[in-house]
């Protein structure tokens, strides 16, 4: 499984480049070098996977998302000083306030899953950005599917 993830993220990075005129942020999608410290945020982002994706107007976690979140939970339990904020995001094809509510719902779905996997709730907060912070900038489903996301962002400790 761990071998598959970098490949999947590599494909996503290509998708981003193909539909975006701006250089996407690559911190979370670049394949990780072999030398990464397993307790580092870079390792979490690249090897564990910092994000899950949702269907249109949905906040349910599919099999792939649940798999990612189980790895996130295990990592968080292995690194008990880490705290995180779960960001909920929506694509651009909705109204602003509804998308804020939808982002909150998605962030909550991620947080609840991690808590159910044993991560102490006090280490996880959540925030919605609605449709305000897209990462993939094309106006097509190939980008929208990447923007409908829940991202687990470490809020403490070393950032590399």
């Amino acid at each position: 499984m761990n071998l598959i993830r970098p490949l999947a993220f590599g494909l996503m990075a290509l998708g981003l480049a193909a539909c975006s005129t701006n250089t996407p942020e690559t911190t979370s999608v670049a394949p990780a070098p072999q030398s990464l410290d397993p307790s580092s945020v870079a390792y979490f982002n690249a090897e564990v996977g910092d994000r899950v994706f949702f269907g249109t107007d949905r906040s349910t976690l599919d099999v792939e998302a649940q798999s990612t979140l189980r790895r996130q939970a295990a990592w968080l339990l292995d690194n008990p000083t880490r705290t995180a904020v779960i960001e909920g995001h929506a694509d651009e094809r909705g109204t602003r306030e509804y998308n804020l509510a939808l982002g909150a719902r998605r962030a909550s779905a991620v947080r609840n899953f991690l808590v159910a996997e044993g991560v102490p709730a006090g280490r996880l907060s959540s925030v919605t950005f609605g449709k305000e912070r897209p990462e993939a900038l094309c106006s097509a489903e190939s980008c929208w599917s990447l923007n409908r996301r829940g991202v687990t962002v470490m809020t403490d400790g070393p950032t590399s």
Binding site: S20, T21, N22, P24, E25, D57, S59, V85, E92, R93, G94, T95, R96, E97, Y98, L100, A101, L102, A104, R105, R106, A107, S108, A109, N112, S125, S126, V127, T128, F129, E132, R133, P134, E135, L137, C138, S139
Partner: protein, 456 residues
């Protein structure tokens, strides 16, 4: 359809007094003209309910300037002309066609000079400085073909910095005299000023005059801020800010220039809107992913829950009489519009067409609800009766969103954005009839317009 229809029995309402602008009416008796009996001549009148196809031609000669006031008199006249033309209801005839200057406000015009160029109405004004250095303006509107004054003349006094407001007040008076309804020119618009790339866009709260002048930024752009809404008096804004890390409703006092997060609860809050009396703020709170509508009483900061249940309930807006609230909910599986009593209670769904409906806003006239409709990959601004009947879509584009009503309930602003990484939102306006769709005058890319009430 004729542009100007004459109706008997129309009467001007006296202009209200004001603190900032001293605003007085002076009668037609000043010219030694007695008002004609109502039946003898029907007043000039334009009907705006069904949409004006042909704007009414108006002559607006340069204002007679007092000493040293030549430049400012020209500016005031130009602002009035821009207001009238932008409304789509009026056409200011090119001054090059005028056969005579406007002359004195205290003189009866030579109407034949204005009939020749087919001006239906003639506005004559003068502007100068008083002994105290304040601006002093007088204005009278005339029915050219009826040969009569249209309502009482008005006199305004204001600080020199308020010259544009004098112009907007006069334009509002012309709107009232010729349509029978108040205008919307002396008003402001709050908005989100947007700049930078789409994935890291700076979004600042700002306010401006409705015609794009006097832009003032309220937030500095360091944190994301959205959805400004004016209080009924225009003295405060509510908006949401991520300054604390999560979205929180903030109230901003425009005079004191002071901001404060509303509420100390641990939830995200958004979708704020004032009650018609200004004493309460509706907002959505998100608790564990569930979004419901609450109301905060500003005096006590007490919070009252208005909806419950696992669905998203957000975007609340009061009816102008304060008895009902329209909002959106996905309780039925997708975003739809509902109306509930103020204070909460049984909600009645009012949107039943295809597609999804959001961002409902009750008209200040009380007769219509404006909304965003999403259907088949297109976004529309539309209006419907408050029971959901007579739905009409006014616009269509890749993204049209977030209508706001002009204070007279006859015009809407909203924002429009195109697809792609390079797109940026722009504020547009359209009459509630669907006519006169055009870009609003704005300082740049902008979204979330909120139209204030008429200024005092």
């Amino acid at each position: 359809m004729t542009t100007a229809r004459r109706h008997s029995g129309a009467r001007l309402r006296a202009a209200a007094g004001a603190a900032a602008l001293i605003f007085a009416a002076f009668g037609a008796a000043a010219w030694g003209i007695l008002p004609a009996p109502a039946a003898a001549q029907e007043p000039l009148r334009i009907e705006i309910t069904e949409g004006v196809i042909e704007p009414m031609p108006i002559a607006l000669p340069e204002f007679a300037p007092g000493a040293g006031a030549e430049g400012i008199a020209q500016e005031v006249r130009a602002v009035i002309a821009a207001d009238l033309t932008g409304s789509g209801l009026f056409r200011v005839i090119d001054p090059n066609a005028y056969l005579a200057p406007g002359g004195s406000v205290d003189a009866r015009p030579a109407f034949e000079n204005w009939r020749v160029i087919n001006a239906e109405a003639l506005g004559v004004g003068e502007l100068g400085y008083g002994d105290d250095g304040r601006l002093s303006a007088r204005f009278q509107l005339w029915d050219v073909f009826g040969g009569q004054p249209l309502g009482q003349g008005i006199a305004l006094r204001a600080a020199p910095g308020d010259a544009r407001r004098i112009a907007h007040k006069i334009a509002d008076q012309i709107h009232l005299a010729l349509t029978g309804e108040p205008g919307y020119f002396d008003s402001r618009v709050a908005f989100v000023a947007e700049s930078g790339p789409k994935n890291a866009r700076e979004k600042r709260i700002a306010i401006m005059d409705q015609d794009g002048a006097n832009v003032r930024y309220i937030t500095d752009g360091r944190s994301l801020a959205l959805t400004p809404r004016f209080s009924p008096t225009g003295e405060s804004l509510v908006y949401i800010s991520w300054a604390t890390g999560v979205p929180k409703v903030v109230i901003h006092d425009l005079r004191a220039q002071r901001s404060e997060v509303l509420g100390s609860f641990p939830f995200m809050s958004f979708a704020p809107r004032f009650s018609p009396d200004g004493g309460r703020v509706l907002m959505s709170l998100s608790d564990g992913g569930n979004t419901d509508i609450f109301e905060m009483t500003l005096a006590s900061r007490s919070l009252r829950r208005l909806t419950s249940g696992p669905a998203i309930e957000t975007a609340p807006s009061y009816s102008p009489d304060g008895t009902q609230i329209v909002f959106e909910s996905d309780a039925g599986g997708a975003q739809q519009l509902y109306v509930m009593p103020a204070g909460g209670g049984t909600a009645t769904r009012i949107s039943f067409g295809d597609g999804r409906y959001g961002t409902p806003v009750w008209s200040p006239r009380g007769d219509l609800i404006a909304f965003t409709k999403m259907l088949g990959g297109r976004f529309h601004i539309g209006v419907m009766r408050t029971d959901g009947s007579q739905e009409r879509l006014l616009t269509a584009s890749w993204l049209d969103e977030a209508p706001t009503w002009a204070p007279n309930g006859r015009v809407l602003m909203f924002f429009r954005e195109g697809p792609g990484a390079a797109s940026a939102p722009q504020v547009w306006r359209v009459d509630a009839t669907g006519r006169n769709l055009r870009r609003a005058a704005m300082p740049g890319a902008a979204s979330d317009p909120s139209w204030s009430a008429l200024l005092p």
